[in-house]
């Protein structure tokens, strides 16, 4: 028998030199034999710690056992009891800080590669053709979900499984939220998002695209149309800028614009697709999160000769997944750490030509627990550059929030919602995902969507369960 403590497989991936020439997926997925071997390592713990690390409570040992037995279709069915978007989660969830971090095998050796296996069975099913589940009969209630990101899709899918008639209203022309406009093709192929969205549709969920709630329709209009409960999952779609001189120069993008042009509008296929994106020889991405990594790797693939990442702390503090930082570096992205931009320099035609930066050192820990970066006086220097992507975070998009009277927000401008139920200050209105927590993860948004679905069910069966609204 193999040693249970080691043996975790490496994910096969395309070599860096080849993969930076296109937008095809980078990791290739485990072969069947490796998946089965890996699943066999699971101890089938009586009190599985891994499940506690999973925000949507997948029966992890349950599905692993089925994989070990080669019963892949049953394994995916087991996952789908809890998670409607496994091919997505298997690709983008930070398992290393969730289920895998809790796995007991990780204490002395290597944790089970739960994420790889989730991806494996989801891909197995997709290749075989996804079986649409039998939709339950309508229970007479209608629910409106605003936003089709992971939070909205999960909430809608779960409610549909309970017999609710659900419509998702989405501002953009494609469903998926950040999954389609933010995360690039080479990390999450859009055909996979489309198929998982279709799965949610097959549960009976309707998706109305190109409908901006707050503009095209209001929540009051939806009430009049017969919707009895609402879930707001509109994400954190407001790009932050540095607010330093020269930031509106040509060639400076927010990560949202850069990624939306590239991924949603397929600028990498310009002029087959009509939307262009401008990429210079030397590109700087400001930030150190997943968004920054994605932008930097897109820039390389769009033909930049040099791409650097300007980050004000050290690599240890970077919020991006380790795996993604490694991949970015393998591909040639150069990390300039302990450095902060102070102004952008432009030429007479209004194009950016450089970033004046200042060097930083780490001081005392701040409220985030990370050591605070402090500028070193007199250490200014200029990085010559022709394209900049600002990826320093997102805030709550006020568009919808401004049009809902009486919706309580928290100090940072996000919706104030009960973390357990998702209930907001308005009767029948629930919220979850990035619009409540601030920019977080796909799986935490899904977890919030799931909890909200449960509370919406509770509310519509017995509104008295929510005394705060009486």
């Amino acid at each position: 028998m193999q040693n249970r403590l080691s043996g975790r497989p490496k994910m096969p991936q395309r070599p860096p030199k080849e993969r930076i020439k296109d937008f095809e997926e980078v990791p290739l997925g485990l072969p069947e034999w490796a998946a089965v071997e890996e699943a066999k390592r699971c101890l089938q713990c009586k009190k599985p710690q891994c499940v506690q690390g999973c925000p949507v409570e997948i029966d992890i040992p349950g599905f692993l056992k089925l994989v070990a037995e080669g019963r892949f279709e049953d394994a995916i069915a087991k996952i789908k009891e809890k998670n409607s978007l496994p091919a997505i989660c298997g690709r983008v969830c930070p398992q290393e800080t969730q289920c895998e971090e809790k796995c007991v095998l990780g204490k002395k050796g290597q944790p089970i590669a739960i994420g790889y296996l989730e991806r494996f069975v989801a891909d197995y099913e997709r290749e075989k053709g996804i079986r649409p589940p039998s939709a339950p009969s309508w229970n007479g209630h209608r629910v409106a979900v605003i936003g089709s990101g992971p939070a909205g899709l999960t909430c809608a899918g779960d409610l549909a499984k309970m017999g609710y008639q659900v419509t998702i209203f989405e501002a953009l022309h494609a469903p998926g939220g950040v999954l389609v406009y933010g995360i690039p093709e080479f990390r999450l192929p859009k055909s996979i998002v489309a198929q998982e969205v279709d799965y949610v549709r097959s549960l009976g969920v309707e998706i109305e695209l190109s409908c901006v709630v707050g503009k095209t329709l209001t929540i009051d209009d939806l009430r009049e149309e017969g919707y009895e409960a609402f879930f707001i999952g509109t994400g954190a779609g407001l790009p932050y800028f540095l607010n330093i001189p020269g930031e509106n120069l040509n060639g400076i993008y927010s990560a949202n614009e850069f990624l939306t042009r590239t991924n949603l509008m397929k600028a990498y296929l310009f002029p087959e697709f009509d939307t262009p994106v401008k990429i210079g020889r030397r590109v700087a991405v400001i930030g150190g999160g997943n968004v920054a990594m994605d932008a930097a790797r897109c820039a390389l693939r769009l033909g930049a000769e040099e791409v650097c990442l300007v980050y004000r702390r050290t690599k240890k503090e970077m919020p991006a997944r380790v795996e993604e930082v490694e991949r970015a570096e393998e591909e040639g992205v150069n990390c300039i750490i302990l450095t902060n931009p102070v102004r952008f320099i432009g030429n007479d035609n209004g194009w950016v030509t450089g970033i004046e930066c200042i060097q930083m050192e780490l001081g005392e820990p701040d409220e985030s627990g990370r050591r605070r970066p402090v500028p070193i006086p007199g250490s200014e220097f200029v990085i010559p550059i022709d394209t900049v992507v600002v990826a320093i975070g997102q805030g709550p998009n006020p568009l919808l929030l401004e049009t809902i009277k009486g919706l309580a927000l928290n100090k940072k401008g996000y919706i104030a919602a009960d973390p357990q139920t998702g209930a907001t200050s308005l009767p029948g209105v629930f919220a979850g995902g990035d619009i409540v927590t601030g920019a977080a993860t796909v799986i935490s948004a899904m977890g919030a969507g799931k909890r909200a679905a449960r509370s919406i069910d509770l509310y519509l069966k017995d509104p008295n369960k929510f005394p705060q609204w009486r």
Binding site: A171, L172, H173, Y181, L209, S210, C211, V212, K215, T216, L217, G237, L238, P239, F241, N243, E247, N248, N250, G251, Y253, S254, N256, E257, T260, R261, M265, K266, F270, P271, E272, F273, D274, T275, P276, K278, N349, G350, N397, P398, L399
Partner: protein, 283 residues
Amino acid sequence: MFKILKKQVLTPEIKLMVIDAPRVARKAKAGQFVILRINDQGERIPLTIADFDPEKGTVTIIFQEVGKTTMMLGEMEAGDTILDFVGPLGKEMEEKNFGHVVCVGGGVGIAPTFPKARALKEAGNRVTSIIGARTASMLFWEDKMREVSDKLYVTTDDGSYGEKGFVTTVLERVLEQEKVDLVIAVGPVMMMKMTSLLTKKHGVPTLVSLNPIMVDGTGMCGCCRVSVNGQCKFTCVDGPIFDGHAVDFDELLSRQRIYLEEEKRALEKYLATRAKEEAHYAE
């Protein structure tokens, strides 16, 4: 899918379309815009709502063919459908009685001036309108503008119709002769800039409707940012109407040119394909 109910050729380059879009029509207000996408490969382009009918559920757009997308749109006919048509976006204009308002529309900007002039007229204002185009054949909606204005002036750059000169030529005269409480200018950025410089000199408050490049139109991407009073604003959600005296027009002019090369490439490729197709059908 949104059906084109009616198409009207206003000038060789400027076309009007009435689109079946009940939800947009029901909420539309003067000053707002839509974003449309013709097909799956298409770009999302913003166009002002030139008119709307909540009862019939229709929205009128007027556009000038300047590049690939507007040209493709111009070739579509009544009965054809547009893939996406989102709106109404942006903030509406404040509709109140200011007193004497001068509405200035340049080129295709006459179209978005119309619902504003009409709304201001209905709000009890005295409305003077000045519309202008490069040449007579590029002028449209003189009759509609006349209906909603107490007084209407028409200019052409080459003097082929109306008064020879720019809209600002007439505006300067009006400002010198009459008390004006508000000026609203819609048209090419250079025209809005010149108008704002002029009214600033006369101390008359001025609103302009900005047209930067946009992508989503919902405040998500930050592409449409403009400097207003030195502050960064997103045109699609904070605007498109801003105080003309506070806008950094030079920055806007520069930002509009970001994609000139790419736009040219796209257009050339499109025209070449079209020529090939036409040759094929001619055979």
